[in-house]
């Protein structure tokens, strides 16, 4: 009887320690975990391609289609261009949607690839982001299923409608809104004065500037 009680306690403790994490991602081959906590895990490959898993709470009624629309719309406004969309699955069988984007950081001429996979459960929403230089995009797109095979997400209720919600329709990114606000070409033809001059003693009529 004593042995039985101890066994029950041990099983409960093990279940508590291992099974309560909202998600778990084992580093895929070629990646090393840089940091990890309950809401974010970051991994790095030798070619500076990174994986970033983020967990955030789901709002009541938030479905995969709703958040997928929100994600694509907001990223599109930031200058991301959607080039691919596909259904994906985690190691524990949760269905999500993967979006592939092209992106160039404003003010630079280095194209990037950005893949984000979205999973939505009753309690959480998870994104698995993979990003790096555009030249590595094709290779990591082919490895995406390999990465997601290392992911376990939780938060589904029994007979959940959220976890079984349908895939979003074919999405498109809107026109970017932020790109024009990127840093302008700051090169000027007139060289800057070598030092800060003192103001010249010429009369200056105060204008009436308006903000």
């Amino acid at each position: 009887m004593q042995y039985f009680k101890q066994s029950i306690l041990g099983v409960c403790a093990a279940a508590t320690l291992s099974g309560c994490a909202a998600y778990r991602l084992e580093p895929p081959p070629g990646f090393v975990e840089v940091s990890s906590n309950s809401v974010e895990t970051r991994l790095k490959a030798q070619d500076n391609v990174g994986i970033n898993v983020q967990r955030s709470y789901n709002n009541k009624g938030g479905t995969l289609a709703y958040w997928a629309n929100d994600l694509v719309n907001k990223l599109g406004k930031r200058g991301y261009v959607l080039i691919g969309q596909a259904a994906v699955e985690t190691k524990n069988g949760r269905e999500g949607t993967r979006f592939d984007f092209d992106y160039t950081i404003p003010g630079t001429d280095k194209p990037k690839f950005y893949t984000v996979s979205l999973f939505v459960t009753d309690k959480y929403k998870f994104v698995v982001q993979v990003a790096g230089d555009k030249q590595f995009g094709a290779a990591y797109a082919a490895r995406n299923h390999e990465i997601l095979d290392e992911l376990v997400v939780r938060g589904c209720k029994v007979a959940s409608k959220i976890c079984g919600s349908p895939q979003p329709g074919k999405l498109q990114t809107p026109a970017p809104e932020v790109i024009p606000d990127g840093p302008p070409d700051i090169a000027t033809d007139t060289p800057a004065p070598a030092s800060t001059p003192t103001p010249v003693a010429t009369p200056v009529a105060p204008a009436a500037p308006t903000p």
């Binding site: 907001k74 990037k112 982001q129 606000d181 010249v200 009369p203 105060p206 204008a207 500037p209």
Partner: protein, 310 residues
Amino acid sequence: MHRPILLFCCALLGLAPGCAKRADYSMAPPAPDVAYDNYGGESAPAGSAAPASPEMPSRSYGGDEDYAKKGEAMREESDSPSMGPTSTPTSMPASPAPPKQAPPSGGLVTKSKPTDAKEGKAEKDDGKDPQKQVARQIIYTAEMGISVFKLDEAMERAETLALESGGYVQSMSLGYYILRVPAAKLRGVMAELGKLGVVESRSLQAQDVTEEFVDLSTRIRVLRETQLQLLALLKQARNVEEALSVRRSLDQITMELEQAMGRLRMLESLIGFSTLTVRMSQRGPQNAIPSSNDPFPWVDGLGVEATEWN
């Protein structure tokens, strides 16, 4: 019986404005505020209870030309080097002259013409308009908060903009600038700075210092005249005691004159060069989109910048 009444009447006459000239030559130090203008219809300051003497009449502000001519004349007459109107203060950079151009859009202040006949020559400098016009003197102070992609380059650009506009950098630290730009170019500089990134805050305050400016100008003019009179008295001193007494009064007037001129120069600097405080912050994935009322900002933390490694 009538003798005390006669004495009393004489005493009253002695206090009348007509006796002010005599009082001036009695070597008593003149009250510094005796010639404060009754500018804008307001009453004179508390220290200006004494009536103005004929030599120090109350006058309206005649503009900088009058100011400069008076200064030149005084410089020629005066032996004291500290009395020059263009003496440069040691604690602040050379300040621009106050505006001489067309009055800004802030409006006009009018002042009634003085009645003293001796001022006729000075009045010619100010034009034939019986209603003198004094441009509004306004100090502009502006602030901007900008989030930029490349902080270093944006800071360099901000400094260049200030210099190109004829201004200068008053102080700086990482992401923080206090720029002094010509008031007329403040709006243009702010517009150019706004192109460096996303303007997250912008403000502009205007402080009308016309009254203080006019008061100071008038005060300086009156102090200068008093100074010249004291110098004349000093030359007429018959003994050491009289000379020392005049000298004390002269020193006091000179000190007050320098204080007023210092304050005027500072006002001129603040009016001519607006103060623009710029705060810059680095833009990243967290603030790639200007803040909005989005109830679900979860996407703001996503993106290439938050994922890849450099």
